[in-house]
Structures are given as C-alpha cells and as structure tokens.
Amino acid sequence: MPADFQKNMIFPQNADKTTEIEMQDLLRIENLSVVATDKKRTTQIVSEVSFTVRNGETMGIIGESGCGKSITAMSILKLTEPNIHIDKGHIYWGNICLSELSESRLRKICGKEIGMIFQEPMTSLNPVFTIKQQLSAPIRLHLGLSKPDIHQRCIRLMEDVGIKDPEKTLKSYPHELSGGMCQRVAIAIAISCDPQLLIADEPTTALDVTIQAQILGILKNLIRTNQMALLIISHDMGVIASLSENITVMYGGEIVEQNTRDNIIKQSSHPYTKKLIRSAEELYDGADELTLVRGNVPRPGENRTGCRFAPRCDLSTQRCHAEHPPLVQKERGKGTVRCWNCR
Amino acid sequence: MHTLLKIREKTNAYILTGIALLTIVFMFSTIGPLVSAFDPLLTAPAMRLTAPGSVHWMGTDDVGRDVFIRVIYGIKISLIIGVVVALISGITGTIAGVSAAYYPITSKVIMRIVDGIMAFPTIILAIVLAGILGAGMRNIIIALSISYFPMIARVVRNATAEVLATEYVESAEVLGKSNTYIIFRYILPNIASPLIVQITYTFAMAILNESILSFLGVGIQIPTPSLGGMVSDGRNYISTAPWIITFPGLVISWIVLSLDLLGDGLREMLDPRRRRAS
C-alpha cells in the first residue's frame, strides 16, 4: 500500500495539478518566524527557520531546551498556545501552504497526512476514553471505515507498534498502562491513517533507556516499512543520530547548522555543533575530562546583536559580537552553517 | 519592590473592578454618616413611606426611618461580620488544615470533625446554630465561623499536603529544620494563594448568609439596621414603597459581587499553573 499511496495522493486544493508535480518536497518550511505575544510585548521565539523534509526521508532537529525546536514543530500543525503564532514565513505541505490554511482544512490534514507524537506518554492519552476509542477516532474521521474494519485496523496497528496483547490493551484505559506502552499507543494513533510524515517531539525523553531503545526501534521499523518521512525533535544526540539522515541544529531560536548526519557527526563546522557532538561523544564513550562550554542558553527575547552563540564561543571575534551571521551554504561540501569563522 | 511590580503586572481587570467597587462601598459607609443628618433608629411616623427625594435620598420605611442612613449602618455591620468571620474561620481553618496535613494522627481527628460539619448544608447549619445560640452579632459570627472554617481547613490541608510533597520541603528537612520553621517559612508562604482566594470567597459568603439570617429573623435583631432585615421589613410594602427593599438588596449584591470579582481575579492571578506558563 505505501508504494501507490504517493500516486493516489490527492490534495484538496487543486487535485489535477498535484499529479503533475513531482512530489519531492513533502514538508517545506521557509523563513519561519514565531513570536509570543502577551499584553505588553512580543518576543521572538523562532527566527528564520527553513528546512525541507522529502518523501520518506528523516530529519532530526537537535537543540537545547528553549532553542525553539518544539515550537517549530508545534507551529506546523498550529498546535501552539494561542498567544504564540507565526509572524513571518510559510509552511508548505506539498504545494499547500499550511500556515494560511483555515482551521478546519488544516485539521483534515492533521492525523491523515501528518501524524504527531509528544513527549509525555502518560499525559498524551485521554484518561476518560479507552485505548480503542482514542485509536479509532482518527480512523473513523479520516478513512470512514466500517466498524469491523476499524477494529481490524486497530489490532494491526497495535501489533505494528509491538503490543503483545492487542485485544486486551484496546479495552483498557491509559492509567492501566505503563509509560512505554502509552507511547506505543500514541505512536499507533499518530500512524493510524498511514500519514506520509510523522512528527515526533521528544518521543523518548520521558522514558527509561531500555524502553527508549525499544521505541526508537519501533520508529525505525515503521518508517522503513511504511515509507514514512520522520521529523524528530530531541535534545539527545544519540536519539537524533540513530534515527535521522539529516540533522538541523538549532540554537537560540535559529538554525546554526544543517547537514547530513554523517557530516554533522564527523565534520561539523559550527563551534556549537562541535561542542555538542564532542560532549555527546565524551559521555557515551567515556572520558576522564569533559569539555566545558561556559555560560547558559540565551533566553528568548534577550538582546540579539551579533551571533547568538558568540558569548559562549571560544573562537568568537569582534565581528561575531557585532554582526549577526547569515545561514550560508558551506563552501566545501554540502550543508549550511551560520558562522563568520567557518564557511 | 520587585514583588510589588510583579503584582501590578499581573493584576487583571477583575481584581481592579472588585477593589474599585469595594472602595466605593467603603467610602460610602464612612462618609455617609457625616453627610446624612438622620439617625438610623429614629422613627418619624409622619414621614413614613416617603419616596426617595432630596431630603431622604433613599426614602423612608414604614415607621419613617431614613433608608439611606440605615443602609449605611447595615453596610458597616455586614462588613464587620464579613471581615470577622473571614478572619476567624481563616485562622482556625489554617491551623486545623496545616496540623491535619502535618501530623497524621491529628489529621484523622480534625478531618473527621471537618467532614462532620461539612455534612450539614452550610445555610441550614448556620440557621440552626444561630437559632440555638440566639440572635445577635456575636452569635452570628460564631455560627458563620463554625460553618465556614471546615471549607478553609480542607483547602489548607490539600494545599499543605501539596507543598509537603515538594522537594524544597524535603531539602529543608534534610537541613534539620524544625517543624515550626518549616511551617512558617515554607508552608504558609506557599499556601498563601489558595488561602487568600478562599478567604475572599468566605468573606463574600458570610455577608450573603448574614443577610439571609437577618432576613429570616435569626440574625441581627431589630431595631438594629441590617441589610437582610431591611429587605424583610420592606416586604409588605413592596407595591407602595419599593425603595425600602430595593436599595438594601442592591447594596448586598454590590458588596458580594465585588468580593466575588476580587476572588475570581485573585484566583486567576495566583493560579500556579498560569504562573509556570509565563
């Protein structure tokens, strides 16, 4: 089914046009800026973020807390708090501009073409509905299957995410399941209508390492068998590295480097990425001394002349403090980087 | 200074409106006696049932007493009862609630008593208590305080239990701090928000219920002016002299509404979940 899925895909806007366009770019984010407004001021949380997720491809966004990675993901389906909204830029799903779509049409894409899972498995399922009720709701809504078909599909989905006793689990309520099980169910809900893209926002952060490994395994398996694209967001380099082909590194609300995974891990350019990789390696592989980066992550809304990493960077020059570097194509090799000192 | 600024930043329209409305009532009741030449108890049969006018701003009642000055005194009594009930039930409720959360054995006893009292509907309890104790301001205060302290005790107990479960209280225990220290420096400051909100509501409810008690004749006794009692007195003259009951009723609603506004506003402002989000 996944193979001809792409061919049969019809967009509600202009059905005949889509068949001609080569569906390469699944999700394209262009110059996305997100702001938070309260009574008195607006704070820029995400600025000029652009990236593309192609069909069947996996993209990982890594960054520390407060770097805007989750907000970026949430803005795609407009799931942010009401006071946080897109200021500039566009989000394209194929050739539909999601950021200009009406609420009701956006909801038709949510769940059907794009699935999403969240960080806290224990709170991401509704406590007053059974697993079956929650799992069958999007199936009924988007696919309009008959009751026995829905049940069949539920069972299959449960098996897909590695749940041993699907019939019993379907009847239970979320509080009767463990965190790992809840996350499996959440994944099942997200992929229930065979979306082409799965957005996973810190899917394993709240889980134990052994469970994390299982969930990562399940995700890997799913994207391979369903030929699904994945946008995974995490602060954990290990998680990102194990799932994504391309990596976007975010810092202080903007992209600092973008490249394939191997290039990021082996020959990253930006000082921040370097530090991040180095720290991860040291922790995972064991080191007697840890690399230290002084200072703290900038808070959204702090003054923003110059490079955002400059105050913590060992290589920063006067120019770094004075001028904000643009995100440019690297001179050698693929990828983009935002730094005055490395091109 | 810093906290003051923060408070101003977060103050919402409800609180401001509530405070403004309360201030007006308060001003009214302080300035009122100074500008009005009448005595709240002085009857003037000749002037009975006079419509509101330039002399009697709110008219006169069935025995010719000036409604305006009686309303003013009624406000005073209502406010005093409200404040005292809120304070008494606030303090006893806090003591009961904190000790119930803190000491497991006391907890059982106190919470049984609290549950026992709360099993009675508040108004019935207050009426019965006031009926048994006899009318009069002191007894009303006692009756209302007994009726309301369980609610506060419960709120305080739950809030305290929440605070006790936090790691910062544990960190104080690990430092070897005494229970008294923890209660005063850790628990009380951190349960202040829900407590203040609950006390504000109690204030409002006490005023409302005092007027009900007085209306039913088990509250403030005649001839002392009370808002509820005035409505009761004016009942029979509603078609001829509606002003007798209109003004006191309006004033009760005014006071209670402003306190409820204040309470809702405070709750919204002090809500820990909102604070975390900001």
Partner: protein
Amino acid sequence: MVIIFSFFVIHIMPGDPVRTLLGDRAPAEQVASMTKSLGLDQPLVIQFTVWLKNLLHCDFGTSISLGEPAFSLILQRVEPTFLLGILGTLISVMVGIPLGILSVQHHGKWTENLFTLPALVSISVPAFWTAILMIQLLAVKIHLFPVAGYHVIAKYGLSKALYDLLLPGLILGIMYCGQIARMTKVSTLEIMRQDYLLTARAAGISEGKILYYYALKNSLASIIVVIGYSFASMLAGAVVIEQIFNIPGLGNLTITSILNRDYPVIQGTLIFVTVIFIIINMLTDILCAYVNPKIKHEIE
C-alpha cells in the same frame, strides 16, 4: 459517622436545651421534669444509644409545638422541597453549563465577560431579594405565576404542583447556576491545557468536538460534584425560598421549628437533610467514578 456528629454537634452547643425550650424564667422543677422526660439527665453515652436506637426506627422524637412525631412531620414536608430541588437543579444545569462552556470558548477575549459576569451576579445577588422582586413583577403585576402557596401532588396533580414551583425553582436555579458555570469554566479550562487534547488535535479532531466531547467528558466529574453539591444545598437553600413563597416544605418547617424552639424537629430535620446530603454525595461519587475511570482507580 456523620450521624454521631449530628448528635454531638447539637449537644456540644452552649446552653441547656431545656432552658432554651422552656425559656429562662421556667421554674426549676419544670426544668428538672422536662430534663428527665427527655432523658437528658442520663450520661451522654446512654442518651446517645437511646437516641440512636430511636433513630433506627425513624423516631426523632415528638414535636413540642405541634405534638406530632417529628419524623412524620418531616415526611409530610419532603415533597415540595424535593420537587423544588430537582426543578432548581435542572434549571441551573441548563443555564450554568452552557454559560461555562461559552466563557471557555471566548476565553481571553472581552466577550468572555458576557458569560462570566452573569454567572458572578447569580452567585452574588441574594435570592430572597430577587424572589421578592420577581413575585412583585411576574406574579403580582402580570400574573404570570402564582404568588405563593403549593398544591400537593396527591390532591391536585403534578402539573399544578409544578406550576406553583416554577418561579421559586427558577430563582433557585439562577442562584446556583453561577457555581456550576464557574466550575464548568475552571475545570474545562484546566482540561483544555492538557497534553492529551494536543494528541486529539494532532489526530485531526475538530476544535468543536474537542471542546464539546473530549474536554467536557474529562471535566464532567468535577461538574457532577458541583451539581450534586448544589442539589443538596438547594434543599437547604429552599429554607429562604419556601419562606417567601409560603411553600409548606422542609425549609419552612426548619424555620418555624427554630422560631418555636421545637427542639426534636430541628434535630430531626438536621439529620434528615444530612442523611440526604450524604446519599447525594455517595451518588455523585459513584457517578464520577463511572464518568472518569481514573477516579475509580484512585478510589480503589
């Protein structure tokens, strides 16, 4: 447990009940004989067991002013009060829940005040005052409703009884709808912040369905608690309304017995109302557990 308390609360009261009954100037021997006849000279524990034994036989003692058994007096008066409570609850639910939901829907906009202010006003305005004004306006002036009184169902049928209770029920309903609206708003707003609604949104469930079906089912448990509580308080709050509308209900009985110092009846009504209060609490607990299985899990 609570029954024990309803006994002791009354006995802890300051003042000798006999003195209260007979007045301060009653002769000493009359007080003594009265005390004896009421069994008040015996130790508290024995008094309590006797009282409890009688209680099990639904015997609250005999009314002093009316000379009838308190229990049958109470039973006679239950009908209008219950009917009034049910009517009031229905009205308050029908007004309160929509008000609450609408204020959630308009949360953060100025229009929110359109729905929260009426709720606030309904909590704040004293019911006895509105009742009097309403009678004057709707019953006396335009004869829409009967002014006062009550026709027993057995004699006159349900519709007549309901017609009598419509205006008082409306006033009670309006009085308590504020609380229901407030709870609906607060708990639904709380639920709307939960992560699981994010999951539902991400699955493409429409915003309307999320509010009316998903979130409301979650907040239903706390709304039910308030409904149960306001039904119970309505039975109590009927005290005032019954007085004004001259309805021969429980509240009316309470007030008369308090004013007459009719001690057994006071105690009887108090226990009766309390037992009903407890039954309602139990019912709401069961209902909550049914609505929200997680609560059931926590209780177990």
